[in-house]
């Protein structure tokens, strides 16, 4: 268990990166606090796996340093870092039994035989494979194999960190829940530093204390699920988290008013002069459909009833706006306006959130 510090870290897969666009992972300074569970969330190709592989030492960064408890390990090989990592696709040693598979990382480190036996039994119970311990791993189903991979990741107690690279992709849904819960309880029990890579927001939000959102090789926001929901620091976080994602509309902002295509919207807070592309972001949860003269003029395109609530898809001047309406509410056929709750409005300049300059 250790605190992991990334210092000035960046990586490019090209031998001579020219500009910033050549970096798969852009310059990054970050501390992973000892004993916390993090989820690394982002779409495919945003650099999540690259970051993970750099931490575990499978990849050497183009620049910067990695410190485990303030000890520089940038050039230390994977084996010296004492890290556990589980990959997206199951890796099992086919010719070994399930028991030997689980014992392998311990035996390679010269653990005591009695300890290995107990620990393997414990892990097998955790992943629900006690009956299969003496079976050859060859020919097991993909999710059984992945459970073994997870088990092999968890079998060592003294690891500096546990890294998961989308480990539940191949597991079927009900087992996913169970394993995720197991991972969480394991985290509570042993307090390992865990980093869990995923592109599934539910998985990230349920697993982690802190969610780190990556976009285009950059960490765009790190925070609790609530922070990500209420104050997305970057429009990508707004889109990516939430279902449907945040509505982002082009606007011009002056003082405590925003103007969207001629319609004035009160913001409740004042903003200084903004440069670049200014956008207004508001989550569907903070919007309301009405009729009348106030609010944004829209045309309702369709309504999706998802059971817990209704999602109204409306069109504002060519841009889609989503509104979440309560399940019981009836939507009047002449609804033609949307009003925003000022508390849910965020203002973005060049995709990054601008803090209000005050003035209620």
């Amino acid at each position: 268990m250790a605190k992991i510090t990334l210092d000035n870290l960046a990586h490019s897969y090209l031998p001579n990166p020219q500009g910033e666009q050549d970096y798969a992972l852009k310059e990054l300074n970050h501390d992973w606090v000892d004993g916390e569970a993090y989820a690394l969330l982002g779409s495919s190709g945003c650099g999540k796996s690259t970051l993970l592989n750099i931490i575990s030492g499978l990849l050497h960064p183009s620049q910067g340093r990695i410190l485990f408890d303030d000890k520089d390990v940038t050039h230390a090989p994977t084996t010296e870092r004492n890290i556990a990592q589980v990959f997206q696709f199951p890796v099992v040693y086919d010719t070994m039994t399930v028991r030997d598979n689980l014992a392998f990382p311990l035996r390679n480190r010269g653990a005591d035989a009695a300890y290995v036996r107990d620990r393997v039994q414990q892990i097998a119970q955790m992943i629900g494979m006690e009956e299969m311990l003496n079976r050859k791993a060859r020919g097991l189903t993909a999710d059984a194999k992945q459970k073994i991979s997870l088990g092999r990741g968890m079998v060592r107690e003294d690891v500096n960190a546990l890294l998961f690279d989308e480990p539940l992709t191949v597991i079927d849904p009900h087992m996913k829940w169970e394993l995720r819960t197991q991972l969480k309880s394991l985290h509570h029990e042993f307090g390992h530093t865990m980093i869990y890579v995923t592109h599934d927001q539910t998985e990230a939000l349920t697993f982690a204390d802190k969610v780190v959102v990556m976009y285009d090789g950059r960490v765009v926001q790190m925070g609790t699920p609530q922070e990500l929901f209420e104050r997305p620091e970057h429009t990508f976080v707004g889109y990516f988290i939430g279902s449907p994602g945040m509505n982002v509309l082009e606007a011009s902002v002056s003082g405590d008013k925003a103007v969207l295509n001629g319609t004035e919207i009160p913001l409740g807070q004042g903003f200084g002069a903004l440069s670049g592309k200014v956008e207004l972001g508001v989550r569907p949860e903070f919007t309301k459909l009405t009729s009348g003269d106030t609010g944004l003029p829209v045309t309702v395109k369709r309504i999706e009833d998802v059971g817990r609530h209704k999602i109204v898809r409306a069109d504002f001047n060519g841009t889609e706006i989503n509104v979440i309406a309560e399940e019981g509410s009836s939507i009047s056929p002449d609804a033609n306006r949307i009003i925003f709750d000022p508390a849910g409005i965020n203002i973005y300049a060049d995709s990054w959130r601008v803090a209000p300059s005050g003035g209620e």
């Binding site: 994977t78 890290i83 990592q85 990959f87 696709f89 890796v91 392998f104 020919g139």
Partner: protein, 290 residues
């Protein structure tokens, strides 16, 4: 659903039947025909039953040739398979040098058998061959036309030179299909280099290795041209392998009856061993399927 019965459908397999008849059954029957008859010329044949087979079973010459043959196949397999795997493990995985190595490796495979034989025949000559002359100049008694060991070593080294590439290429293809994640997981698990080979690489290339062993076994068991060109089966009979002996018998001495019986037994041995291989391989697949 009712199935339509139409006996005319049998005609559909007629082309295959004809093809197989001409390619395999008829030539084979000719040999069978010779193996059970005797002749004193003039195209007059007498029924001989299984006499020729009995004679061959008692023939010391045949048993000697078979012994040499098995020894030869065993030795070249024991060298080529591990060496091929070793070469494959050390070949670059991607980039320019990977292609370069592949081309380089396949070169010996493209050379015709008798050319390989000629190359080594000249290469090993004491008077003009680079290898033979050098060894002789170093004071090593090397003469494949007179020395039993020299002849065997030459024939074996030649086969290893010619065919290790095949094993290496097959093993290389097997190794290339292993996803990177396996090697990464092994690093995470702190596996030793040997453990990586034993538990990741070897299991993944077992399938192609079986094919490589089968191919190399069959090919070496039927080897004719290369040793024939280099040693002619000598010195004495020391490199007279089964097919060299067979040709000597059939075309040299014109003993068609025994030679025919010999070929049938030869054929059955190869068939038997190939069948064993086939069974082992399909069982391996079955184990995978569980």
């Amino acid at each position: 659903m009712n199935k339509t019965v139409n006996q005319k459908a049998w005609f559909l397999i007629l082309p295959v039947l004809v093809l197989v008849a001409f390619s395999a059954v008829i030539p084979l029957m000719t040999v069978v025909n010779y193996s059970v008859q005797d002749t004193f010329g003039n195209n007059q044949f007498f029924w001989a039953g299984i006499d020729w087979f009995r004679e061959m079973m008692d023939s010391e010459r045949m048993w000697d040739a078979l012994g040499r043959q098995i020894a030869f196949s065993a030795i070249i397999l024991a060298i080529e398979i591990p060496l091929g795997i070793f070469v494959a493990l050390n070949m670059p995985k991607r980039g320019f040098w990977a292609s370069f190595c592949l081309v380089l490796m396949s070169l010996p495979l493209l050379i015709p058998w008798n050319v390989v034989g000629t190359i080594w025949q000249i290469f090993g000559r004491v008077d003009i061959g680079l290898l033979g002359y050098t060894l002789d100049a170093m004071g090593i008694d090397y003469n494949y036309t007179q020395n039993f060991y020299a002849a065997w070593i030459t024939v074996i080294v030649m086969d290893v030179w010619h065919w290790t590439s095949l094993v290496a290429l097959l093993a290389y293809a097997g190794l290339q299909s292993i996803p990177d994640a396996y090697y990464q997981a092994a690093k995470i698990d702190q596996a030793s280099r040997w453990a990586v080979f034993r538990f990741i690489e070897l299991p993944k290339i077992t399938g192609v290795l079986m094919i490589a062993i089968l191919l190399r076994f069959m090919d070496s068991f039927m080897i004719y041209t290369e040793p024939f060109v280099v040693t002619g089966g000598g010195p004495g009979n020391s490199t007279t392998f089964l097919s060299i002996d067979l040709v000597k018998m059939a075309l040299g001495q014109f003993d068609l009856g025994p030679a025919a019986a010999f070929s049938i037994m030869y054929y059955l041995v190869i068939l038997l061993i190939s069948y064993v291989f086939y069974t082992v391989m399909t069982n391996l697949d079955k184990r995978d399927g569980h």
